[in-house]
Structure formats: C-alpha cells, structure tokens
C-alpha cells in the first residue's frame, strides 16, 4: 500500500485523497493515515513543485559540480558533505562512486554568482582537493517529466 501511495504522490502530490483511495481500492482514512505516518517517519520529505523556469522571466543558473575531497578519519564523507549542503544555494549533494566523490547541484541567479560560490566557498574548504563545474544549458526532462511533451491524443477517436 505504501509503495502504491508513494508512486502516485511522486507524480502528483496534489491528488485528491478520496480519489487516490478509490484508485487504490481502499478508503480515504487508510490513505490519510499512511501518508501522515510516512511524513512523521520522513519517508515523505516534502511536497515540491516542478517548474520550467525557462518559461518565466526569472534569472536562474544551475550548475553540476564534481568535487573530489579527502575523507576524514572516523567520519568518512559525511562531515564534509554537511559543510557543503548547509549552504542554502546548494540544492542537492550526492556521494558518488567513480572518478570524483561528491556531486553538488547549485543554483544561482548568474554565472558569476555560481562561480563565486565555487571559488570562494567550495574550493577553499580544507578537504576539497578539486572541483569541476558544469553549467546546465537546457533542461529536457526533470523528475521523470519531459518539459516539451506532445499532449495531443493522435489516436482515432473511435475504434472497435
């Protein structure tokens, strides 16, 4: 039941709970209960909105930054990760296998703002060995949603 609820909420967190209950073949109270519990347990960590900012007049720049670090004795990567993720302009931090250690996703208003963060804040941390910054030029698909998707139903209207 939990996975089924989450699958729906992940795609549409605004779905009407009564409707969701009907779809899942259960009652509204059960669904509401499960959701409340999952919120408490931090399985559900928030209800965000997917926005195609390119269609607005807001200035936004997103960068993916590969960071190589020296892990610290007793704490591994967690402590350096925490120092990075506490900056509000950092949207995501992932520990990565392979050629580098942390993937930091950063959002700023301008290229200058982002590069300023990298050179002033990130690179100067003691355990950071190197960084490589990639700016996102265009978002085609995010969170499983294609931004320019055809929505017209091209099927014949009636077939037997």
């Amino acid at each position: 039941m939990r996975e089924a609820i989450l699958t729906f909420l992940e795609k549409n967190s605004r779905i009407d709970l009564k409707e969701l209950a009907v779809i899942l073949g259960t009652d509204e109270a059960t669904v509401a209960n499960e959701i409340a519990k999952m919120e408490q347990e931090h399985i559900i960590c928030g209800y965000h909105t997917l926005i195609d900012w390119d269609k607005t007049s807001a200035d936004k720049v997103t960068a993916l930054i590969e960071v190589r670090v020296t892990p610290q004795r007793g704490q591994g990567f967690d402590s350096i990760a925490e120092r990075i993720y506490n900056y509000p302009e950092v949207r995501s931090v992932y520990l990565i296998s392979g050629a580098f250690d942390l993937m930091v996703i950063l959002e700023g208003k301008t290229l200058k703002e982002v590069s300023g963060f990298v050179s002033d804040k990130l690179s100067t941390l003691d355990s950071v060995l190197s960084t490589a910054t990639h700016f996102i030029l265009k978002k085609y698909k995010d969170h499983g949603t294609i931004f320019e998707k055809k929505t017209r139903d091209e099927r014949m209207p009636v077939t037997l």
Binding site: A4, E19, I23, L24, P157, V158, T159, L160
Partner: protein
C-alpha cells in the same frame, strides 16, 4: 458491365456505427471514451529496438512463420505467464496482428456449412471472417446476469452436428468479462464431449485485475483442440506495429502458415525485432500499465456507482459495460444524444452484437484527467435524462 463484386462480400453488412464514426470525426471539442487501443506509447526501449533494426538495415523478409528468435521468445513467454507449452518451430506463427490469426484459423479449419459458435457481445471480426471462410456463424447471446461469461448450459443449447469451432473471446472486448478456471473447465468438458475446436482470442490476457488469466489450452486435453491467439497490441501498447501470433497443433499451424505465406509473406520485420525486445525486457512495462488501468477501472466504477449507472465489475481488458436500460432509450440513441448534447463519444453496445442493446462500451484507455472531464459530461447528461422523466 458485369458486377465486379461477389455476393459473399456484398452480403456482409458494413459496421452499423459507421454513421456514428462520421459524426464524431466532424465535431469539435469531442471527448472520446471510444477507443479500443492503449493510451500509452510503446515503451521506449521497444521503440528504440525497432529504430535500431532499421538502422542496421534489417529491411528484408523474415521466414514466413516469423523470426525464429521471436517465436522462441513467444513460447518462453507463454510458458512463464500462462503455463502453455508450445514448440517454436512447428506450433507457432507470427501474424499481422491477432486479427490476421483469426482470419487464418477460420480459413484453414472451415468447410462450407461448418458452424462457428460466437458468443456476443464480442469484437466485430469473428462473424465476417467466419462468413468469408465459408463457415456459418452461430451467435450465442451472453447474459448480463452471468456477467457476460459463457456457461456450459448456454454452450450445450447451441451445439448441433454442424458445430466445429467455438470462439472464446476472453478477456472480452467490449464487456471486460473474464472466464475463471472453473468456468473454462466446464466449457472444456463440453468441447471434449462434442469434439469441438476452440479459437481462443486472448489478446487482452495481460489485462486482468485480481488474478492471472487462465489460458484455455493450458487445461488438460485442450491443447490439441485450441488455437491460442495473442499479440503485442494491448499488452505492450503496440497496436500500430501490427504484430500478433497464433499457437496451436502443428497440423493447423502448418496450414495457417501456408495461407499466410501466400497472402502476407511475413509480418513486418522491424516490428518483429521490436517484439523480441518487448518479450525479453518488457514484463515490468506490462505490470506498470496493468496497475494504471486497474486504478482507472476502480475510479470509473466508483463514479458510476455515485451517478447511479448500474455496471457489473469487469475484471479484464480496458472496458466497462454499464447498463442504460433504466433510461428507456436505446443504446444508439443514448450514444448519439450523448455525443450531440455533451460532446462525449462512447460506443453503443449494439456495435458488438444485438444483445449489446441496453449497454454502452466505455474505454478507460485514457488518463485520469481525461476520464474525469468525460465523467462530468456523462453525469450532466444522466441528470438531464432523469430530470426529464
């Protein structure tokens, strides 16, 4: 000039709702719940494989019976999903959709005068295919009170010395009815006793809700009497690829392959390569689509209950078949007025046989958002009908 056409073809009535189709296609802002195909695009990895096969220049014919690779995958799939045991070399034929397989089976099995039992309401091609093959269609009218399943008693009532084939169209288009193992076992007894053959059209086999589909040929003694027809259209959302298959006794498949060889040559090659990918890596897509259909099915049934539209719980395919008898107008009139007054297209039950009178076929191969909009129109129309009485 002489009449260029044969009486046999001219005697086949055109689809009764041609006029209805024409109205739909001329109107603006119509919401349709009238389609008989999935709303999902074919999963990308399958499309990608089709594209790849074109890039590689695989634009040749395949063997008449279909790529050996594909036939092997089909047999593996039927074994793992429906406990069927077919040989890919002698008992399997890849066809242009399930439709071609229906046509071929009738053509190789019927002599003039042989009768084919066809339970209605059902998909529209069995009757004309039977007629064109020289057979005589014999309709069994299924009952709403049996949830449109075929019972042993009904079957026995219609069998005579000419009866050769029984068509088993389950899970059913348009009713959404399925046959349980017990239901099929009762039918199998009669099939054995009366020495019949079965054309089991299982194109919706992957779309059952609340239990795995039981394949007729998996019942003891039935494999040698059954042509199992299936395909990729509904299970893998591949309607436009035109790919189906027939499995059955080697003697029948051999003759079907012969006719197929002369009429068609082989099913489209790039569709066949795509289908190999569908069977190798597509089980989770099928499961995902089934879950989505099931949610919509529950949603529709709940909405019908709230608006007072009686409907038995269909456990298969992607159709619901509500009764409109209480409104005192015919299915055709209901559907035509619903279209003209609310711009909502559904298919009158009579399109699938005269015993579909009093019912509508509503498809849920649509997104929840579309269903929601459509249900508002339906509700509005019903309120109007009830207010006017």
């Amino acid at each position: 000039m002489r009449d260029p056409l044969t009486k046999k073809v001219m005697d086949i009535a055109p689809s009764g709702i041609r006029k209805f189709f024409d109205i739909v296609s001329e109107m603006d802002n119509v919401i349709s719940l009238g389609v008989g195909e999935p709303d999902f695009d074919t999963p990308w990895h399958i499309r990608d494989e089709g594209i790849y096969s074109l890039e590689k220049g695989r634009t040749f014919y395949t063997s008449n019976a279909g790529l050996k690779e594909l036939r092997e995958e089909i047999c593996r799939y039927l074994k793992r999903r429906f406990a069927l045991d077919y040989d890919p070399v002698t008992e399997t034929l890849v066809t242009v959709g399930g439709s071609e397989a229906i046509d071929l089976a009738m053509r190789v099995m019927l002599d003039p005068g042989d009768e084919v039992l066809i339970p209605e309401p059902c998909y529209v091609s069995y009757v004309p295919c039977c007629t064109l093959a020289g057979g005589k269609p014999h309709i069994i009218e299924l009952q709403a009170k049996n949830e449109f399943r075929l019972t042993k008693e009904e079957l026995l009532e219609h069998i005579n010395e000419k009866t050769k084939i029984l068509v088993l169209p389950f899970p059913n288009n348009p009713t959404g009815a399925i046959m349980s193992r017990e239901d099929l076992e009762a039918i199998a007894e009669v099939v054995e006793e009366k020495d019949l053959f079965v054309l089991s059209d299982e194109i919706y086999a992957e779309l059952t809700y609340g239990g795995n589909h039981v394949s007729f040929a998996s019942l003891p003694g039935m494999k040698e009497r059954t042509i199992t027809i299936n395909g990729f259209s509904k299970s893998h959302a591949m309607t436009g690829w035109r790919l189906g298959y027939a499995c059955g006794p080697a003697a029948i498949i051999r003759q079907m392959t012969k006719v197929h060889q002369f009429a068609i040559m082989c099913a489209p090659t790039n569709s066949q390569y795509a289908a190999v990918e569908a069977l190798r890596n597509g089980d989770s897509d099928v499961e995902e689509m089934r879950q989505a259909y099931n949610g919509r099915r529950r949603y529709l049934l709940h909405a019908f209950e709230e608006m007072g539209l009686p409907c038995f719980e269909p456990k298969g395919a992607f159709y619901v078949f509500p009764s409109i008898q209480k409104f005192g107008i015919s299915s055709d009139e209901f559907a035509e007025r619903l279209l003209r007054e609310e711009r909502l297209a559904v298919v009158p039950g009579t399109a699938f046989g005269s015993c579909g009178e009093g019912f509508l076929r509503i498809s849920y191969a649509y997104s929840l958002e579309d269903l929601k909009k459509a249900l508002e129109r339906l509700k509005h129309f019903i309120e109007k009908l009830e207010g006017g009485r």
